[in-house]
């Protein structure tokens, strides 16, 4: 059957998919900043693609997404279980992606849990500081995904799709694409910390213009941002002036060529970045008590604390999606097969900074408009690999959300009484995506993009936003 192909944009169809469908995106060199100027234009009524938002009044202006690479053990942190199963064999599955049915020994949870705040949500002794602000958090204890190994699960949880059949973009890229930039001087989607997979940064078929820009605290927040040390600022300034002069003739000759017009915009953008990025990474005006909140200056928390302080500053500067990957590289340091004790230093490294971020956002009145998410690709199994560590568990695990219109002090959903499967209000990971989109003023059903005659979506399955945790 041959159907009429009338609605297709003929400029768009290359199977590598990374070709920008829309000429205007590159013609205006919006590039880099994920300047899907489309969003701006949509408001002008110039384009009508349904994906461009906001689709309704957003609750959150920015997302700070904390991704713990390797898999946090939910039952040792935010989903306590009594140890009645400890030492017993239970029906389980094989190692990694081996789904053979097996019986494996449950190992005891060695943590002590304390009920914190007015909500009395129990938190383990690995997260005392987060416990102190737990009334701001919704604890969703019933997430699940399909993939049981790291990279497939990372791809599934960041792109909403399994496998690598298509070049699916990551959540932050979809948000950037749909909302465009709110700050012409900074990227729309940034990533800090080493990711588990380059996929976590990809714009996929939405284009490189909406992929994550690597960002870091310190002297060079963005690759190639500053001139080499050997060059003098005065000289560079002079060069920039001369460059403008010497370019003039060529630019006039091809004045009608939008690509060449975009060149000067791209250089201007680069220059604005050089100007504004240092202000964002300059912590010198941050009071000591604020830095102390994040654990900056303390050995264990300094690195992550600086990233979170920078995240707050980026949010203040209207960066839409700030993703922070913790302990990435290889399978991720949270991958505690051998011994659960390896979680301890990692928890210490993130606990205080996360609590600090929440307190700091709150004292600035930013928490209501900043959505903070804490999670990982999957949780950990109740049983062990016949060691003192835990295996992967995609069937039931926990994510935390705070701010940005989230109902704090809430527990939602539950795993079974050993902590293996989500049984009460189970949520496929896409529900978390739908929730984030919703708080950003985006309707997940409108997050569609046509690639090669096929409609791609961020959210294909699930039930949509998790209404129970939203105000």
């Amino acid at each position: 059957v041959i159907k009429e192909a009338t609605k297709m944009d003929l400029n768009t169809i290359y199977p590598c998919g990374r070709v920008n469908r829309r000429g205007f995106l590159h013609q205006f060199g919006g590039g880099f900043f994920g300047a899907a100027m489309g969003a701006v234009w949509a408001q002008d009524g110039k384009i009508k693609d349904a994906i461009y938002g906001p689709h309704f009044q957003p609750k959150a202006k920015s997302v700070i997404f904390l991704f713990m690479c390797g898999g946090v053990s939910h039952i040792d942190t935010f989903d306590p279980k009594d140890n009645k199963w400890a030492g017993k064999l239970i029906d389980a599955i094989g190692f990694g992606d081996n789904v053979a049915e097996m019986r494996r020994p449950v190992i005891p949870i060695l943590r002590t849990f304390t009920k914190y705040g007015q909500s009395g949500i129990p938190v383990s002794d690995w997260f005392p500081n987060v416990g102190g602000v737990i009334d701001e958090f919704a604890v969703v204890r019933s997430m699940w995904c399909n993939e049981g190994n790291h990279f497939p699960a990372v791809i599934e949880t960041t792109t909403g799709h399994r496998g690598r059949q298509f070049d699916h973009p990551t959540l932050g890229a979809w948000v950037s694409y749909a909302l465009g930039t709110a700050n012409q001087n900074l990227p729309t989607f940034v990533n800090m910390g080493r990711a588990s997979s380059p996929v976590q940064l990809t714009g996929g078929y939405l284009g490189a213009t909406v992929s994550a820009t690597p960002f870091q605290p310190g002297e060079t927040p963005i690759p190639n941002l500053y001139p080499p040390k050997s060059s003098s600022p005065a000289e560079r300034e002079r060069q920039m002036r001369v460059l403008e002069e010497m370019n003039r003739e060529f630019r006039e000759r091809y004045a009608i060529n939008s690509d060449i017009a975009a060149r000067s915009q791209a250089y201007e953008l680069a220059a604005r970045m050089q100007l504004h990025a240092p202000e964002v990474v300059d912590f010198s005006k941050e009071p000591e008590h604020v830095k102390a909140l994040y654990g900056i200056g303390e050995k264990e928390t300094d690195a992550f604390g600086k990233q979170l302080l920078l995240a707050r500053r980026l949010a203040e500067n209207h960066v839409r999606f700030i993703q922070i990957c913790h302990a990435g590289g290889g399978n991720g340091a949270w991958d505690a097969h051998g011994d659960m004790k390896t979680h301890e230093p990692l928890c210490r490294a993130v606990d205080k900074p996360i609590a600090g971020l929440i307190r700091d956002l709150k004292q600035r009145g930013m928490l209501d408009s900043t959505l903070v998410v804490f999670g990982s690709e999957f949780g950990r199994s109740p049983w062990s690999q016949n060691t003192t560590g835990r295996d992967h568990n995609p069937k039931g695990y926990t994510v935390l959300l705070a701010g940005g219109g989230v109902k704090g002090g809430t527990i939602h959903g539950a795993t079974d009484d050993v902590g293996y499967k989500a049984v009460d209000h189970p949520h496929y990971y896409s529900d978390l995506h739908a929730t984030v989109l919703h708080q950003m003023g985006l309707d997940y059903k409108k997050m569609e993009f046509n690639v090669f005659g096929r409609t791609m979506r961020l959210v294909e399955e699930g039930q949509g936003p998790i209404a129970e945790i939203l105000t």
Binding site: P15, C16, G338
Partner: protein
């Protein structure tokens, strides 16, 4: 799509050019009411054709020689020289490899080691002007001709031996094989269908993997029939060495293994009790029935029991770190020493011990007997057993003769001169690479979605010409780049431009030459070429820039040390857990080889600007460029400015530009580096006009 190519008559008396291309184009000007721009000036044309045919700008001496040569065929001589240059193959191989999805690494790709020999083969094939039909046939079957069997004097038929180097052509198919999480993903035949159908047939059969094609008459059945052509293929690793090298390597290996074995004795003795204790502890934790199975000797286990034992293997696996944890400190110290001794003994490397390898494909006779099925969502583990498929392909004639082999039958049909798709798709690609856009814009999709070609008679004439010229790609290149159409200026006089912009703003009908940003590799080569630092050696493994692709592992690509080679050799590929394609390539829109890429994106972005302004690469190149300018100008700044322009823009500066440059330099030799930097950052540097 399948309308046979009928050679259209060349339109008469529409142009003075003897080149039929110009006649077809001029005829279209007439019907569209267009006037072409004037011819480009000599030096603009020279830079254009150099960057196009070899990807490296002309040297100042070559510029001078061309200006001085006033013979009527001065340009044709340049074209012939460039087509004869071995750099031509490097440049055009890169175009082809985008289409054929070359990658040095791709997430468990088994053919990673040695895959660059396929690239080398493509470069050599193009340089020797291997006819296009043979070029394709070799990559599909390993044989460039259709003569695959020979007859003995006594009437016995046997297989003809293949040309040795044509085994490298099979990299195209081998590249699709991968092992992830310890399992073969069975992607080879699927990738083969996707690549082959888009690259050589101009059809996007890939959509039919999961459903009947929505826009073209290609059914899901067609996809899996075509997949069945490739289903029997398996990978075979070939060691590339002389017999002497193989035997010498074997001796070295024996020696190392002997030393290693000796060093392992005390290590194993030390470890054994700890390992046994850990193992016994874990076995004790097993369910009783499983424990009973594990305690049986392997040969006493039934098949079902062996499966259970295998499933529990990871549970019982004792990792080195676990052993270290339970050792007392003094034992641990001793252990580390023993371990060091073992490491020093070597001998742990693969059995090939560093000899180069290449992965080719061959037909597995057992797999050939297995049935092929439609797969649910293309998942190899979900065959629809009620839907068996026979080998075939879209538009295949009935009663195909498979006696020479499945792929052979397909490739004979594909590459036959009568196949209208084959030549049309090929000439359209060549046209795209010279003119920026194909006559058929979607060069890998001649289906219903691709739209109509901008000049069907010209496309058909070129297709028939390719066949008439025995599929010589170089002759077609020559025909295209010596046309008046190719030689047009990229800007027109005000009057012509205004009319042209009105009638054909997209320049679909080629009333002027395009202005286009150089692709990533040409930017790279131009930078190194200006700074006098380009290593143009042909062939060899890929190189990396920055940290990309440095992770080791079984499927790691071979990486060359030198980082000043041509951009065509820059590493590309994909991995789920590390960067493989260097930032430079990503920033300048080069594809990572995961999907066949018929045409690259052209973005203009701030990171490109940041690279040109601030990167280490530009810092180094500016320094070298300045040294070169200073040395070759003998300290004369005017001469340095002149040379700088010639090395970057392939033209001398205008008097105004010279003044501007000299005003900037202010007789300060240290400013030459700043001047070099300016040249790299000027728009003209990364555009072709």
């Amino acid at each position: 799509v399948l309308k046979p190519v009928r050679r259209p008559p060349v339109p008469a008396s529409v142009t003075r050019s003897a080149n039929p291309i110009d006649a077809f184009i001029a005829a279209q000007y007439k019907t569209k009411g267009l006037r072409p721009a004037a011819p480009a000036d000599k030096l603009t044309l020279l830079r254009r054709v150099y960057l196009d045919l070899i990807g490296i700008p002309p040297s100042p001496a070559e510029q001078e020689a061309f200006l001085k040569d006033e013979s009527p065929d001065s340009y044709e001589k340049v074209v012939d020289r460039l087509l004869a240059s071995e750099q031509h193959g490097v440049r055009y191989a890169r175009h082809w490899l985008d289409v054929l999805r070359y990658a040095d690494a791709d997430d468990g790709m088994t053919a990673a080691a040695g895959i660059h020999y396929w690239r080398d083969w493509v470069i050599h094939a193009l340089n020797r002007d291997l006819p296009y039909d043979q070029f394709v046939r070799a990559q599909l079957t390993g044989y460039r001709t259709t003569e695959r069997t020979q007859m003995s004097a006594t009437g016995y038929r046997s297989r003809v031996e293949r040309r040795t180097d044509d085994l490298f052509a099979l990299g195209l198919l081998a590249r699709g094989d991968s092992i992830r999480e310890g399992k073969n993903t069975q992607e080879l035949p699927i990738m083969a269908v996707e690549t082959v159908s888009t690259a050589f047939m101009g059809m996007t059969v890939g959509c039919a993997k999961c459903h009947d094609h929505m826009y073209d008459p290609i059914s899901q059945h067609d996809f899996y029939a075509m997949k069945a052509l490739f289903d029997p293929l398996v990978i075979r690793k070939v060691t590339l060495a002389t017999p002497e090298q193989m035997m010498a390597q074997s001796e070295t290996l024996d020696e190392a293994q002997k030393q290693r074995a000796a060093a392992e004795v005390p290590l194993n003795a030390l470890v054994a009790p700890y390992k046994k204790k850990l193992y016994d502890d874990r076995v004790a934790m097993l369910p009783a029935d499983v424990r009973a199975i594990i305690l049986k000797p392997e040969r006493a286990r039934s098949t079902a029991e062996q499966k259970i034992a295998d499933d529990y293997f990871p549970v019982l696996r004792i990792d080195a770190e676990k052993i270290e944890e339970v050792m007392p400190p003094d034992v641990l110290k001793q252990y580390k020493q023993f371990q060091q001794a073992v490491n020093q003994a070597g001998g742990s490397g693969g059995r090939r011990g560093g000899l180069p390898v290449f992965s080719m494909v061959e037909v597995d006779r057992v797999r050939e007997l297995e049935k092929s099925y439609i797969l649910t969502s293309g998942d190899p583990e979900r065959p629809e057993k009620d839907k068996p498929v026979e080998p075939g392909w879209p538009f295949a004639p009935s009663g195909i003769d498979f006696r020479d082999g499945r792929i052979e039958a397909f490739s004979d049909w594909l590459t036959a001169p009568e196949n209208p798709l084959f030549a049309r798709v090929a000439v359209n690609r060549l046209w795209q690479w010279h003119f920026g856009e194909g006559l058929q814009k979607t060069s890998s999709d001649f289906g219903n979605l691709g739209g109509a070609p901008s000049n069907q008679p010209l496309l058909d004439w070129l297709a028939s010409e390719l066949v008439a010229r025995n599929f010589s790609m170089k002759q077609l290149h020559r025909l295209m780049v010596t046309s008046d159409t190719y030689k047009l200026a990229s800007q027109a006089d005000a009057g012509v431009a205004a009319a042209g912009m009105k009638a054909d703003p997209q320049n679909q009908f080629l009333w002027h030459y395009r202005v286009e940003r150089l692709d990533a590799e040409t930017v790279w080569d131009s930078i190194l070429s200006a700074s006098g630092n380009l290593d143009a050696t042909v062939g060899g493994p890929s190189f990396s820039v920055g940290n990309a692709g440095r992770r080791g592992g079984r499927t790691a690509p071979s990486i060359a040390a030198a980082a000043n080679r041509r951009g065509a050799y820059m590493l590309r590929g994909y991995s789920t857990n590390s960067d493989v394609t260097p930032q430079f390539l990503q920033v300048f829109d080069a594809d990572d080889g995961r999907a066949p890429c018929p045409m690259r994106t052209q973005t203009v972005t701030a990171p490109q600007g940041l690279f040109m302004m601030n990167s280490d690469e530009i810092e180094t190149a500016s320094t070298k460029f300045a040294e070169r300018l200073s040395k070759e100008s003998g300290g004369d700044f005017g001469a340095a400015v002149d040379l700088g322009y010639r090395l970057t823009f392939s033209r001398p500066p205008s008097p105004a530009e010279r003044d501007e440059a000299l005003t900037y330099i202010e007789n300060d030799p240290a400013r030459l580096k700043g001047f070099a930097w300016l040249l790299f950052n000027l728009d003209e540097f990364i555009y072709v006009q």
